[in-house]
Amino acid sequence: MSNGLALLAIFTLAVFVGFEVVSKVSTTLHTPLMSGANAIHGIILVGAIIVAGHADGGLQLILGVLAVVLATINMIGGFVVTDRMLEMFKGKK
């Protein structure tokens, strides 16, 4: 199997896992789901670090570093705010 095909297979399986897992999320938690999913796509930070770390031109470095800043805001902010919300969901004591 070629590398590209393997990646495509991973993508296809992830689609099914994603639908399966997310359709079981309780409606009570749809807002944290939205912000949690939001935090997860902050993982583009890894991509941003890779391109910033391999940049050699000035423009590439500027764009890469800017991407790292934005992705960090997305990822860290997303996880912190989701945690704050979920902390409030306590049941009866």
Binding site: V22, I44, Q60, V69, G77
Partner: protein, 461 residues
């Protein structure tokens, strides 16, 4: 670190993200799940510094660390300070910066691609640039709308749909050229057109429908991350991006169903704007308004009370007062439940977060399907700051903007109490027949002030 070890750790992080979403199936496991997800993200961010790919190890490290610190310095305080009522705009903002990051990564990738790149990699890169830019500028506009830094009404200008259509065609043609021939100037033009499209596409969407757009843009950003993963040959990015794409798609559909409209209709509704039909009886009709004492007496002698909270409750910051009232009623042996419409508040599940903030135990919160069959046995339905989600016009008036939207059947309760600021209709701008119903009592005023008076009247009884 070898490629295999790096991919293996990427797999571990991918599983952590799946567990984070799985944890959300119950409020009990949700917080731990989010922690696992955060650890997965932390591990992935840490190990990337130790992996030497074909291009060697990473340099520019001082820049990267500086950028990480700067991002944290913005992100953490914002996430700590934001009020729960402002959650939709926070999500929009975080989504926008994520989309922007994905677009920037793709632009740099494009500059590095070289001639040997496969067509598929070029397509994935161009896709990320286009969709990432749309997600960025679209999210910024939704943020401005929700934060009320600009008008929340649909912004439509003459010929708008031709401008949007033209921009979209321009994007496709331009993308085709970039994929076939390459060229940096063309890519810059493409990014510019995509940014413009993001703005144009969100401007005509009305305030009430903005959450659907956020959710859709969230799915978009997820897909761009997955596409970046394809170009960078990174399993974690593919899995994480796809998970987000799936969750965004499901939520967008659920929301559209809960609002009784199609996703397409929401996005392009402003262009086909029809005259608002149905229930538009504006004449002065008698309504029965009551005093806080009347309301307290009705509640005091009920056996079952269902509270229907809406965004008006959150705006008045009355969550704590309503819980105090509910506790008083429970102490008197009255059965109290909260009936939560799926889109109560400003995004799906928003009301649950707002009530959780006021320490309402989540066991008392009933979803629409659960609570609807019980209204016939309910003595008092107390509607606080909600309107459209209980408007029977959704069932009785074909042509009304909310027709077909599932509603809470408060009209079947023995008594209905509305706490409202005024007779003004709800977000959808249509009259609510229920307000004139003989079994309805209206208590006018700010929700918090009214509830405080009801609470003291209840204590006096």
């Amino acid at each position: 670190m070898s490629r295999n070890l790096y991919d293996l750790l990427g797999l571990v992080s991918s599983v952590a993200f799946i567990l984070a979403l799985k944890g959300l199936s119950s409020p009990k496991s949700a917080r731990r799940g989010n922690m696992i997800g955060a650890i997965g993200a932390g591990v992935a961010t840490f190990v990337v510094f130790f992996y030497k790919g074909d291009e060697g190890s990473l340099h520019n490290l001082p820049w990267i660390f500086g950028a990480l610190l700067l991002g944290s310095a913005f992100g953490v305080p914002a996430a700590r300070k934001v009020q729960m009522t402002q959650m939709p705009q926070m999500v929009a903002l975080f989504n926008g910066v994520g989309g922007g990051a994905a677009a920037l990564v793709a632009i740099v990738e494009y500059l590095n691609l070289g001639d040997s790149a496969s067509t598929l990699a070029v397509i994935a890169t161009v896709f990320t640039v286009v969709v990432g830019c749309i997600s960025f500028s679209g999210s910024i506009i939704t943020f401005l709308k929700l934060q009320e830094l600009m008008t929340t009404r649909p912004v439509v200008f003459p010929g708008g749909r031709f401008v949007i259509g033209g921009t979209l065609v321009g994007i496709f043609v331009n993308a085709g050229f970039v994929i076939a021939n390459g060229g940096n100037t063309l890519l810059e033009l493409l990014a510019g057109l995509s940014l413009l499209f993001g703005v144009l596409f969100v401007l005509p969407v009305g305030g009430a429908d903005v959450p659907i757009v956020i959710s859709l843009l969230n799915a978009f950003t997820g897909l761009t991350v997955a596409a970046s993963g394809y170009v960078l040959q990174n399993i974690l990015l593919i899995v994480a991006g796809t998970l987000v794409g799936a969750s965004g798609t499901i939520l967008t559909r659920l929301m559209a169903v809960a609002m009784g409209r199609s996703v397409m209709g929401t996005l392009f509704g402003a262009f086909t704007a029809k005259a608002v039909a149905g229930g538009g009886a504006q004449e002065e009709r008698p309504v029965r308004s009551g005093s806080p004492d009347d309301v307290a007496i009705l509640l005091n002698y009920a056996r079952r009370v269902v509270i229907v909270p809406g965004y008006g409750l959150a705006v008045a910051q009355a969550q704590h007062t309503i819980r105090e009232m509910a506790d008083l009623l429970t102490a008197k042996g009255i059965d109290v439940a909260y009936g939560i419409h799926p889109v109560a508040g400003r995004m799906p599940g928003h009301m649950n977060v707002l009530l959780a903030e006021a320490n309402v135990p989540y066991e008392q919160l009933s979803e629409m399907e659960e609570v609807n069959p019980t209204f016939a046995q309910t003595d008092v339905a107390l509607v606080v700051g909600a309107n459209d989600v209980v408007n029977p016009a959704a069932k009785t008036t074909p042509g009304a903007p909310i027709y077909g939207m599932p509603i809470l059947d408060v009209d079947q309760a023995a008594n209905i109490i509305f706490l409202k600021r005024s007779m003004r209709p709800g977000f959808a701008g249509i009259e609510n027949e229920l307000l004139y119903d003989p079994k309805t009592t209206l208590l006018f005023g700010d929700a918090k002030a009214s509830l405080t008076k009801v609470v003291s009247a209840l204590k006096a009884l």
